[in-house]
Symmetry: C2
Subunit: 825 residues, 2 copies
């Protein structure tokens, strides 16, 4: 299937009465089928008088927004056909599901997608019955709905999704309907500013339609209750040219308001075409893109009054206006009148097929919005051209001999990714791309910026075109990236670890979308949503407690295991290997947490690749095991800072408790810890037991909240031996080592943990235990008097690693060696 | 300490040159001390030439926003003194910590609060040294900072906090500085609309100052780079009257720009006074409140160019402009020049005390913004007058004999709370108060609404004054409530369970704030943040999968145990008892998840109170235990839907496996499951083992993600016997029973779990197991053909509960009986 061609034509001026009649017919048909879906089990065309048995026992769904969505859809259909304009329809009020299903059915796409929903009486019966019905389809514009990239379950993201879809699709028009309820949300309120990040020459166009139907669930809406001059000022302030359109509040004939709206749509689309022409001719000024304010009654065309209460043009029309349609004859009668008001006999022929004249309104093939391939982005996805990440490997003569800022080197790799994929890969970030040290990418690209420039901007890497998209809104970054991915492109979101929680609920929605699309055969896999979380909990040096929260991982692992991957690369080469893997994947949410501060390089690239492929491994070079014998204790680690503390603890133990057999295990793919029955990456019990033993104490130094390790390993045989250290919500603006001490994750405390947990050590090593306490005190006192960590602590890595390796008899540079089974793609 | 009195005076016109000089002195002093805090260890007044030893080894903090914050503070100080206007300063760019600390020090509050930070050379040395220093204070406007209710760690909530503080404080002016970085966030973008929810007669005033310094961390800001006409349109669109003020970009003298800003401030404050007067006189129109756009250079007054790169008026001034001040003589020299540019010798006397003339700028006592008692809300908190929740008890002749919508009855209780506390209690919700069935409160109050009214609004419970605050923005609800609580008032946030994740990151920030304030003696406890999460995962009937997420509990339990409480009341009386408890508490985050659909009443009020006091308990009436003998299996439950399924399963087991000794345990206070060493509510091991046994299989039906139960109980002896059923991310728009079946939480599956886990049952009860599978199939088939659940499933509760109780020989209506120790306040 190819992308539809497009031309940004001006209107052709064919707005005759016949066309207007067709638009009205389409609208009535869509409204009729929407009401039908909400209420009817059978008798979809009212071939017989309506009885209670035709009505669903549970009436679930939302009528209020639907007629407005259908109105817009009908009009766009006309315009698209005339202009051959590839158009994607983003339904902000996604609970208007019946409307979008109805339109897809009218366009024929629904039947092509679901052949049992035929274009006849029986197909109509199935269509109406399945909606919000057990075993049927959900009530929203869900993945099941052809033409949708936006379910609209949680409100707020219609515009950011729309802009994400428009980026790098210069021929695509994205019409985004924003409900006036949604417009009150924070994410939506800032997403209007997306127009400062859109390049009119190389991106597509977003046409926002703010649908003011005046009410949300139980209240009027803010934007419907401010003066027109305020509303227009707001839209101008957002950088748009607003066009206010009002219909449905008086006796104006449908022919009249349809004509007015069709004319407005032609004006707006002509204006858009003019802007595109101008941009193509080199005009670099920021366009004041048109947008439409559409004021209609909520529940437009439903019974004005039900049970003596105003329903049309009221919040009462939000969900199901006739709640007792099955149980009271009065409601049943009103329902039948309501359905018949659309004159179904004019809309469908004797076999139940849409009237041919009305059907002629629709464009053909992929120009139908419900069949636009951008809404099934996997169809259009091309693999990224990836450079060989090994080319960016850092040289590791031995563990800890050198150090790098891992994300800075990743930036070099990403520079190549940008160069090789000049129009299908973007990096999103809330003003943190450089802070997270990816600034090498500016060698290859700029930050897209379509607001004003100053002469002093010369060296700031701002440009009308750019692969980096930065706005101080995590919501925008997430929403744009989602829209970009769902339309088949690639990208990553680089963010401070703590503040990625801002998009927790968006991740939920995206994970749910992916979970469902994986179960729908016609939905093709899309590129994964890749996070790079840096400036993490242990190194938020400038900020402190408010910026410390490693809990995003906890949040994400509640989602379906098939969809979620979590990686904690601890050095530069493992980060490179991990990210290469993520960028190749599909349909996942990949969470990568990585440090930006200089940290010890531990594995050569070959070792890193092997380690990442296994996801975890025993580091013989760092331990003091004797081949063939079980270790006395396992020191496990996940994350860059915990890994260094574990290595330091192993070094201390080697020096002070030479007879102790210590095994060091590093976990880079966190999901390996889970049971293979719980997660596709999960280790078998046999492998887990081999690595962690079933009886030795395991001291696990973990990057985040310690309980997560228990949650992941509770089924394991040796679980009760696992003792986890991690972030326990203690922090402030202080030194890196003080941070780990505040949370008992430091090397000295890990040694104490070993003494306390390995049988027999406590009695023999009381002095060492005290010494470790003293070392903690000394470290803290030094820090508090000097304002920095002891140099010996900062500079620990190389000599200790070397000593470890020498003592173990394992050549420096030898990585993990235990092979493990299972799929960790 | 009493609230300062206020009068909304017009200006007194005393803007003479002397005052202007004082303002400039204050500003220089605040700037000087801010730079000092970022850089200096010692030599705070440059009594000797600056050397590297005077400079901190780690330079942490943010200069960029600070001089602007100081500028505003200095000017407000002048105006407050003249007008005796109680004023709270909300610092959106909270990383401007050094500025707020400096001002609190200049006002004397800092020394009053921390007596070792004296008003002399030594005090100054301590002041500058402690900032961002181990063992010192954090870099932000943290709880440690007098006068702060807003740390500004995560950006976006300055205005919603400010409005929350202003609600019901009619004499309070809240000046909220919004950074232009913050202004890009979603929550901030919608929070401008808060003015539609503020009553000018009975609430205080928020004066937003949008501080455009042009840059964020590494980029220009959107609002600084749109045309003035767009920016002003935006502010007018938000309902404000904007005043644009520009300074610092040219050679204008400080005397000149100070005079201009002082005059502007007088104009604005006079306009506010006029609006207040007008409102007091009965004018009900919505005021177009003034707001100020303050354009200054970022890092204003720092070295214009450092290392050949523009620094002042650039993003490079964001954090620490002279990163190598300690390590390069050039930077050290520039730093000394920079410090001396403020002419410290004019600002402080020979002993290090602030020049008396400058000091005279400040108002006295609680009129000092750093001493405003609203910023330490616990000082002003009055206990809620609570009605007796028992008056709203529902009659429970026997478990399951009746049913109620729990939240609807809670609404009746809240109605009384509203009546008894007409100005200190509010209910916040994102348009879901009625959907969550609390609408009884409209008998006592209305929804506050200060946007336009229509004649048709008569029965919609909208009013200029109202205790219910609804906007479709969870961010706004959370932010307003936080502001309201932190200034010492009470409230709750009613929200759909799934969408409370929208505020995950805000909860993090609030939990961190509470955690730290609990460690600060002068911070007094504030009322708890109470959630009522309804329309929960099992009963999002109209919406389905996108609206199903019970993971907020998982998120919250990562925060400090002292701060977090989680309750899962399963019926009306337990909900009433729980909520009464929450409304009395302080300094907690209380998460209450409760159903809104009709559900079986199980406990009488006396039983409910006893059960809630224990937090969990054995229900003898529902089990088939024999006194004195251990049970064969424990059926545990938490949450309304799981509780009913467990009771049904117990009933099935009683019928089909009569010899099985089943214990039924219900958990209402989830934190009881945790170890007493982990959580203040945690059960002792002894109590836990008594209730759950150490060897019997425990089938635990839990409301949310099943892993949470493992995370809470992993230390328990019998943990490996616990088998949890819960929501595993399977759902759609379907029937309630289909939902529990999709997640294997249904009664039939629980019976299968018992057969599979109790030794010996599997071999003997293969036929029952198959029968349960058949029942699942029958239930599903019925649902898919009829669109509703089998009536016998819906109507199960009463006969089954009666049968259970009769069989157990325990009188109906007898609740939990095992006493447990521990504090679960």
């Amino acid at each position: 299937m190819a992308t539809p061609t497009s031309a940004w034509h001006r209107g052709s001026g064919t707005l005759n009465d016949e066309t207007i009649t067709r638009i009205d017919g389409w609208w009535r048909a869509a409204n009729y089928l929407s009401v039908g879906q909400i209420y009817l089990l059978a008798n979809p065309l009212l071939r017989e008088p309506l009885t209670r048995d035709h009505v669903k026992p549970r009436l679930l769904g939302h009528w209020g927004t639907t007629p407005g969505l259908n109105f817009i859809y009908a009009h766009l259909t006309r315009a698209i056909r005339e202009r051959s304009q590839s158009t994607l329809y983003v339904t902000g009020p996604g609970h208007g599901g019946p409307g979008l299903v109805a339109n897809a059915y009218l366009e024929g796409t629904y039947t092509e997608t679901y052949p049992d929903i035929t274009q006849d009486d029986e197909g109509l019966r199935r269509l109406v019955r399945q909606f919000s019905f057990p075993g049927g389809i959900p009530s929203h514009v869900a993945p099941e709905t052809p033409g949708s990239i936006h379910e609209g379950g949680e409100l707020g993201y219609a515009l950011s999704h729309a802009y994400g879809a428009a980026f790098d699709n210069p021929d695509l028009l994205v019409v985004a309907v924003v409900g006036d309820g949604e417009a009150e949300t924070g994410p939506l309120a800032t997403s209007w500013h997306s127009n400062k990040f859109l390049n009119p020459a190389t991106d597509g166009v977003v046409l926002p339609i703010l649908h003011l139907n005046g009410y949300k669930i139980a209240n009027p809406t803010v934007l419907a209750r401010i003066d027109d001059d305020e509303l227009e000022a707001l839209m101008r302030g957002y950088g748009h040219t607003p066009h206010v359109f009002v219909a449905g509040f008086d006796d104006e004939t449908p022919a009249s308001f349809h004509r007015r709206f069709a004319e407005l749509l032609d004006t707006v689309l002509d204006d858009i075409a003019a802007i595109k022409e101008s941009a193509a001719a080199g005009d670099e000024s920021r366009p004041r893109w048109p947008m439409i304010v559409l004021r209609t009654p909520k529940g437009w065309t439903c019974p004005p009054v039900i049970d003596g209460k105003r329903t049309e043009d009221s919040w009462r029309a939000h969900q199901v206006p006739l709640a007792s349609a099955r149980d009271t004859p009065e409601h049943l009668e009103v329902l039948e009148e309501w359905l018949r008001s659309y004159r179904p006999e004019e809309l469908f022929d004797a076999t139940g097929r849409l009237d041919a004249d009305i059907a002629a309104l629709a464009p053909e093939g992929t120009l139908r919005m419900s069949a636009n391939p951008h809404a099934n982005g996997g169809l259009l996805t091309q693999d990224l051209r990836l450079p060989d990440f090994r080319d960016h490997a850092v040289d590791v003569p031995a563990p800890g001999a050198t150090s790098h800022e891992a994300t800075r080197v990743l930036g070099e790799f990403l520079t190549d990714v940008v160069r090789l994929n000049p129009s299908t890969f973007r990096i999103f970030g809330p003003d943190e791309t450089a802070s997270n040290r990816l600034q090498a990418v500016y060698k290859a690209t700029d930050k897209v910026w379509n607001a004003a420039y100053l002469p002093t901007d010369d060296d700031d890497h701002l440009a009308r075109r750019g692969r980096v998209v930065e706005m101080l809104s995590e919501h925008q970054c997430q929403g744009w990236l989602e829209g970009y991915l769902l339309t088949g492109r690639h990208g990553l979101f680089s963010c401070y670890e703590a503040f990625i929680h801002i998009v927790d609920s968006m991740v939920n929605q995206h994970a749910k979308w992916l979970k469902v699309t994986r179960e729908i055969p016609w939905r093709r896999p899309v590129p994964s949503l890749n996070y790079l979380l840096s400036s993490h909990v242990w190194r938020q040096d400038h900020n402190g407690f408010s910026h410390q929260d490693p809990g995003f991982v906890d949040h994400v692992v509640n989602k379906k295991a098939e969809v979620v991957r979590v990686y904690l690369p601890f050095d530069t080469n493992t980060l490179l290997s991990t990210y290469d893997h993520c960028l190749r994947s599909r349909d996942y949410i990949n969470v990568v947490v990585a440090g930006k501060q200089p940290t010890a390089d531990l594995l050569t690239m070959d070792e890193a690749v092997a380690h990442c492929k296994r996801g975890l491994g025993i580091w013989e070079w760092a331990g003091t095991e004797v081949a063939g014998e079980d270790p006395d204790v396992v020191l496990a680690c996940a994350g860059d800072v915990p890994t260094l503390e574990v290595l330091a603890a192993a070094d201390l133990l080697r020096q002070h408790v030479p007879e102790l057999r210590v095994r060091v295990v590093n976990v880079v793919d966190l999901m390996r810890l889970q049971d293979e029955r719980e997660h596709p990456h999960g280790l078998s019990d046999r492998d887990f037991d081999t690595i962690f033993t079933t009886d030795a104490p395991v001291i696990f130094a973990y990057h985040g909240y310690p309980w997560l390790i228990h949650r992941l390993t509770y089924r394991r045989k040796g679980h009760s031996n696992i003792h986890v250290r991690g972030y326990k919500e203690e922090g402030t603006t202080t030194t890196p080592f003080d941070m780990v001490m505040l949370n008992d994750l430091d090397r000295f405390h890990l040694v104490i943990d070993v003494i306390d947990r390995v049988e027999g050590l406590g009695s023999r090593y009381g002095a060492l235990r005290q010494h470790m306490q003293d070392e903690r005190l000394r470290a803290r006192q030094y820090t508090r008097s000097h304002g920095e960590d002891l140099r010996e602590i900062r500079d620990w890595v190389w000599p200790a690693a070397a000593a470890l390796a020498e003592a173990s008899g394992t050549p420096l540079g030898t990585g993990a060696a235990v092979e493990t089974g299972g799929d960790n793609e």
